[in-house]
């Protein structure tokens, strides 16, 4: 009697547990293109993390290609996660914008289609831009406009301190920063935050001196880290740079609390809007006067994911081709305050917008972050910002910090 009850008691429990585990597993596995494919064949889905100010650019190309658009703007950090989910459920959009260092990983997964399928080869564009969008020899994404880093400076503060020419070397920069530091402000500010943004801001110093991400323990990189530590020890750079994002840094600049800041052209609209600071920009100094400034390449590329619909993919290809055409480059540069990727167009943009000029120059020599390491870049980026933070917090000397961060 009791055994019979026990058996009937246990079986339903096991059955419920098994069913409850297997059911969601099967539901997850089967299905697939459940959510997509509901738009008409003449509608393309476009996905990015930008704001609606880009929509007119998209619509202009939509008109040219003869399609209607469904535009989806995803909040910045969530884009890649969304892309991954869409990859696994095969619901990728027809046109996908990616931050340029992410192209390698997504292309590696097989989710993107080569742009050569649509006759796009990136002729006339900056080699670094083409390289950024290339994986395993095939081009997957192109950017209409890119950006990089330079230094914004407060003209009045420079005048008051008697500085007439922008610094050209690290020593000049260090001396100027010291002179410009007073009770109420720092001479120099940048972001050394523990995210890829901090790495991005450090790269001009590392690469300008000849450092490489393949081995961050080389002397050149050590010198770059030491330079930042020196600036901080001089009192010219706030310790808060460890927690400042690039936006926080510009806030400091606009509030008059920093005389020189490392930042990018996308801040120009905010700078033009405010009235408190008279500003200019110059290229980031190098350690020796013989070196050239090598800053990282920023900006977003457009790709054509692999979906089941070849006809749509072809249309998407034409759409992307339109987006990176010279006219569109100029328009994008105006809206986004970036630098067009075809050098001739870039020059034109620089002439009509003098504030952009230092960035135009720097972009010509800019380097893509994934050029050497491809999909393995994120790991190296993490090591770099960890090392910089270790050194700036005083937990380790620069050489030791880089060694620790590099690991094995």
């Amino acid at each position: 009697m009791r055994t019979a009850q026990k058996r009937t008691g246990r079986a339903p429990k096991v059955a419920v547990a098994a069913a409850a585990l297997i059911l969601p597993a099967t539901l997850t596995a089967c299905g697939g293109a459940a959510a997509s494919g509901t738009e008409s064949p003449n509608t393309l889905t476009v996905q990015d993390y930008l704001d609606p100010s880009r929509d007119p650019l998209y619509q202009a190309c939509a008109k040219e290609v003869g399609v209607t658009l469904v535009i989806s703007h995803v909040a910045g950090p969530g884009l890649i996660r969304k892309v991954l989910q869409q990859s696994s459920s095969r619901t990728l959009p027809d046109v996908l914008m990616l931050d340029n260092p992410d192209v390698q990983q997504i292309a590696e997964s097989g989710a993107l289609s080569p742009l050569s399928d649509y006759g796009i080869r990136g002729e006339g564009m900056l080699p670094a831009v083409v390289k950024a969008g290339t994986y395993a020899g095939k081009l997957y994404g192109l950017a209409p406009a890119v950006n990089t880093l330079s230094i914004f400076y407060n003209k009045e503060m420079f005048r008051a301190a008697g500085i007439t020419t922008p610094p050209k070397t690290w020593d000049d920069l260090r001396a100027n920063a010291k002179r410009l530091t007073t009770q109420d402000r720092y001479g120099f500010a940048m972001s050394t935050i523990n995210t890829y943004e901090g790495t991005w801001q450090f790269l001009p110093f590392m690469w300008g001196n000849g450092g490489t991400e393949q081995d961050i323990t080389t002397e050149e990189t050590v010198q770059a880290v030491q330079f930042l530590v020196d600036l901080q020890n001089d009192g010219s750079m706030s310790k808060s740079s460890l927690i400042w994002s690039q936006d926080d840094v510009i806030d400091q600049f606009i509030a008059g609390k920093a005389a020189m800041v490392v930042n990018g052209p996308w801040q120009i609209p905010a700078l033009q809007e405010q009235r408190d600071v008279q500003w200019g920009a110059f290229t980031i100094p190098t350690r020796l006067p013989t070196q050239t400034t090598v800053a990282p390449l920023g900006g977003e590329v457009y790709t054509v994911p692999r979906t089941a619909d070849r006809a749509k993919m072809a249309k998407a290809g034409r759409f992307v081709q339109c987006l990176v055409s010279p006219e569109q480059q100029l328009q994008t540069a105006k809206v986004a305050q970036n630098v067009p990727t075809t050098p001739a167009v870039a020059e034109q943009a620089g002439r009509s917008n003098p504030a952009l000029a230092p960035f135009v120059t720097t972009v010509q020599n800019a380097r893509s972050r994934t050029a050497l390491l491809g999909p393995d870049w994120p790991k190296a980026a993490t090591k770099i910002y960890n090392a910089v933070q270790l050194a700036l917090t005083g937990k380790a000397a620069p050489a030791e910090a880089l060694r620790l961060a590099q690991g094995d």
Partner: protein, 312 residues
């Protein structure tokens, strides 16, 4: 005789009825729990199993499209345990959890006891105490970042009134951990106050009246009447508190992102970083599995305690 003849089939039917009733009684608790069991199994079973399996795989961005996740056995765990950051992360997790829970609970209990007394506006004030808990985390973390700012933050300006120099709250590695723990305590107090207060209210007033006749008032009343009666509620609050604190990611990421120099990196934030910043999901899953095991130890403690509870 007739009754014996009649009773035989009746007894057989009766035995079946008793058997059915006994089955029903055995099944009753399960029937009460059934909807919950189904929900939990469906929504938690699959993710947990998937997470355990992922810890043994090399799961990267490619896997999402291609579906291939090569089995790598314990290699993810080996990488984590041998990293120079593992000890730091573990220590930070322990400090963060213990620091948060101790203060949250003590302050929460103190406030709950304080507000139990009826004074004008006590109900209103008590309900407003829960405000920190219902602010969107993005707003709270932004506000705290401003308040703790070294140069222009309100806290430093307040301390400046007493001549204290600007404290680098979120910038100095040691202070950053303290700052983050402080904000977490602030976030956790409402949770503790609300539950402990309910628990205090459930203690029958009779007991206090009877106790006061015997001279048990104030601290004695607390030790001999209040504390034993709120024990079940206290254990829920503490164990759940530990489990939830171990999982905390949002506030740490919002304030410091795990820095500076990994001084506020806990197991939970490390798992998040591994998965969603470096897209190394296998490693992220492994770290979160380690986290779940740590929580499990506490849960076992809870079960043991609750089994020994007096059931009056």
């Amino acid at each position: 005789m007739t009754s014996a003849n009649l009773s035989l089939p009746a007894a057989a039917g009766g035995r079946r009825k008793i058997a059915r009733m006994r089955l029903l009684r055995r099944a009753t608790p399960w029937l009460f729990c059934l909807p919950a069991i189904v929900f939990v199994a469906m929504f938690f079973g699959y993710p947990i199993v998937q997470n355990v399996v992922m810890g043994f795989q090399e799961y990267t961005t490619s896997t999402f499209y291609s579906g291939e996740a090569p089995w790598v056995g314990l290699s993810n765990y080996a990488t984590i345990l041998s990293s120079y950051l593992f000890t730091t992360t573990l220590v930070n997790t322990a400090l963060f959890t213990v620091g948060s829970i101790v203060f949250q609970f003590v302050i929460g209990l103190a406030l709950a006891l304080f507000f139990k007394r009826n004074f004008p506006l006590s109900g209103f004030l008590r309900s407003l105490l829960l405000l920190p808990w219902l602010l969107p985390l993005i707003a709270s973390s932004a506000v705290w970042k401003w308040l703790l700012d070294q140069e222009s933050g309100a806290l430093n300006q307040f301390l400046g009134l007493f001549g204290v120099p600007a404290v680098p709250w979120l910038v100095d590695p040691t202070l950053a951990l303290i700052g983050v723990i402080g904000v977490n305590i602030w976030l956790g107090i409402p949770f503790n106050v609300a539950i402990l207060y309910s628990g205090l209210q459930a203690v029958p007033k009779l007991l206090y009246e009877a106790g006061s006749l015997d001279g048990a008032v104030g601290w004695k009343a607390f030790r001999h009447i209040t504390w034993p009666n709120i024990r079940p509620v206290v254990s829920v609050v503490i164990v759940l508190g530990v489990v939830y604190t171990l999982k905390v990611v949002d506030i740490i990421l919002g304030l410091t992102g795990g820095g500076p120099a990994n001084s506020t990196q806990t197991l939970a934030t490390d798992a998040y970083n591994a998965s969603f910043v470096e897209f190394n999901f296998g490693e992220g899953a492994a770290i979160s599995n380690i986290l779940i095991v740590v929580s499990l130890v506490f849960a076992l403690v809870y079960l043991y305690i609750s089994r020994r509870e007096p059931n009056e």
